[in-house]
């Protein structure tokens, strides 16, 4: 008799480190086909609508990149924290605060070319950082769990934006819809290609991936943060500041998420509404994991996640399925990733079973 056993690897497998996310995506897609079949839809058509349509035309690809922008931005910021063992899961709230801060600038000083937009970008990042500073302070000062604090603040942020667009910032000419006035042209991010919605924020997202990569892998700060995450005692012994890790980890996440929120209101939306985020902050957690907390990986993972988003919208339109389908795919992707990650640290071997 032989049986499958798990054997720890002496060192983590670099091959499986990258193969595991790919395998997870493949498994998610296959399970997706199964779900389409179970729902009585033609799996081939489902696959086409969900995975092929979103990349089948120039316009569709541009929309995909537009969706990937906030996802990659939020994810790279989170990755900085995750590497330091800081579990910021409130990017959704920081995204909303970035949008709120940027909107404040757009509504009051929105008419100066270039200057208004620059001010909005700074305000957006500051907004996210403000929200992220709360869990950072409470964690470093009172040891309050940053997971729960950052998450509670998501609900508070959603209520804050709702208060603003139903109250003081409501467009008086907006037929009572919960939204602000449309931003003036000087407060909108310029698009890259005539007639497409993809804008400069996409390039800035690529830039922030590079910056974060350098910061995380080629700076003393990045090294001390990684050490804090992987070997807290060693970091303590080396004299690396735990407090600094907590603040940097959370503020980097807040700045990126806030910037992404700004890019959403100053980009495709052009105004602040209470439905500004489609759960990008939560999806970005999955993007960060699937991208292995690595800049290039996050870029690729954000494209996959954007595909799920656009695919979900397409499935709603053409297959009459609820758009929450994309969240089911997101959750499945993370499940599969966590399962396939076993192969990074362990190998499956066939052993003759020992009689005991």
């Amino acid at each position: 008799m032989r049986r499958l056993t798990l054997e720890p690897r002496p060192v983590a497998s670099p091959v499986w480190g990258w193969a595991s996310p790919v395998l997870a995506v493949v498994l998610t897609c296959l399970t997706g086909l199964l779900i389409f079949a179970l729902l009585g839809k033609d799996p081939i058509e489902g696959f086409h609508v969900f995975f092929i349509r979103p990349v089948s035309s120039f316009w569709a690809v541009m929309e995909l990149l537009l969706k990937a922008t906030p996802l990659a931005l939020c994810a790279i910021g989170l990755a900085v924290g995750f590497r330091a063992g800081i579990w910021n899961i409130g990017a959704e709230g920081q995204f909303i605060l970035g949008a709120i801060f940027a909107t404040a600038v757009a509504l009051h000083f929105g008419d100066w070319p270039v200057i208004s937009l620059l001010a909005m970008m700074i305000a957006g990042a500051l907004g996210g950082m403000t929200w992220a500073a709360i869990p950072a302070f409470l964690r470093s000062r009172f040891n309050a769990n940053e997971i729960l604090v950052s998450l509670m603040l998501v609900y508070v942020a959603q209520l804050l934006v709702s208060w603003l667009v139903f109250g003081p910032w409501k467009d008086p000419m907006g037929f009572n819809f919960p939204q602000t006035v449309m931003f003036s042209d000087a407060s909108l991010i310029p698009t890259l290609i005539e007639g497409q919605r993809l804008n400069l924020a996409f390039l800035m997202m690529l830039g922030s991936l590079v910056i974060a990569h350098v910061l995380m892998n080629h700076s003393r700060l990045g090294f001390s943060m990684r050490t804090s995450g992987q070997a807290p005692l060693a970091a303590l012994y080396a004299g690396f500041s735990n407090r600094q890790s907590i603040y940097m980890g959370l503020l980097a996440g807040g700045a990126c998420a806030g910037f992404a929120g700004m890019a959403e209101v100053a980009g495709p939306m052009g105004q602040l509404t209470d439905k500004l985020s489609l759960g990008y902050g939560f999806a970005a957690i999955i993007v960060a994991f699937v991208g292995r907390l690595h800049a290039l990986g996050i870029l690729l993972a954000s494209l996959v996640m954007a595909l799920f988003y656009v695919g979900g919208e397409q499935a709603q339109q053409y297959l009459n399925l609820p758009s929450a389908m994309s969240r089911v795919f997101q959750g499945m992707l993370l499940f599969f990733l966590l399962a396939t990650d076993l192969l990074v640290n362990y190998r499956l071997v066939l052993r003759p079973s020992v009689r005991s």
Partner: protein, 308 residues
Amino acid sequence: MTELIASILFATIVAATPIALAGLGELVTEKSGMLNLGAEGLMAVGALAAFIGAYSFGSPWLGLVFGIAAGVALSLVFALLTLGLLANHVATGLALAIFGTGFAAFAGKPYESQVLTPVAAWAIPFLSEIPFVGKALFSHQPIVYLSWLLFGVVAWLLARSRLGLILRAVGESPQNAHAIGLPVRLVRLLAIVFGGGMAGLGGAYLSVFYTPFWTEHMVAGRGWIALALVVFATWRPLRLFFGAHLFGGILVIQLFVQSSGLQIEIPSQLLTAMPYLVTIVVLVFISGNAKLIRLNSPASLGLPFRPD
């Protein structure tokens, strides 16, 4: 005035019950060393499954069974990943929360505009006739009494029984528990399943007994609040029971203020945000005392364990 206080007390108990149920489940799970952050997702699928069960078969009790079963089923995924495949507890719990809420939103769409017949309260003879508090305390839907019973049983089991001793041993030091021959993974599996079932029951209470209808956002962070309450209660059932009612009280008072028609200059959103803000305050308050947390939290909480 006494009538108002009595009705606030009544509503507090109603609002506290789902958080208390989910929190008690999580407490047992964490006592075994497993940190399951997925309570929000477990409650969401529990709420939906219970609603579907109650709606399709016309029986709220069958609904409860469905809700518990859904919570158990999803928690088995957590068990498979963390116990079987040694995945990180935090990441797996987050996956559970994202998947659970997403799946409930997806599968629940067709049920969104349906309403169930409310379940009648079950007044306990004599006790419910005590002046002032009788009706507030002893005239609830049966599931409220069930939750009281569960708290009593779990508190007793944890503190006084052999089963509780085994659970605590596994949570404090899985290595030592394994060395003396305790089935560590089986104990942890059962603790996870219990947590899943209780969160499912808490969700079921929301959709079948409390509202009684189903909407996508009905859990509204109660799962996360339950997690925070377990820390607040320093992993003790009776403190958890007290904490859940404190929260129920805050939830209810803000609702009473909102619907009172008092001309007050507070935005309703701020009132709605109160439970979340209070959760943060409570966490800060209790976590600031590092010694208290260290002494009470299960020593192996969140760490993977693999028997050799």
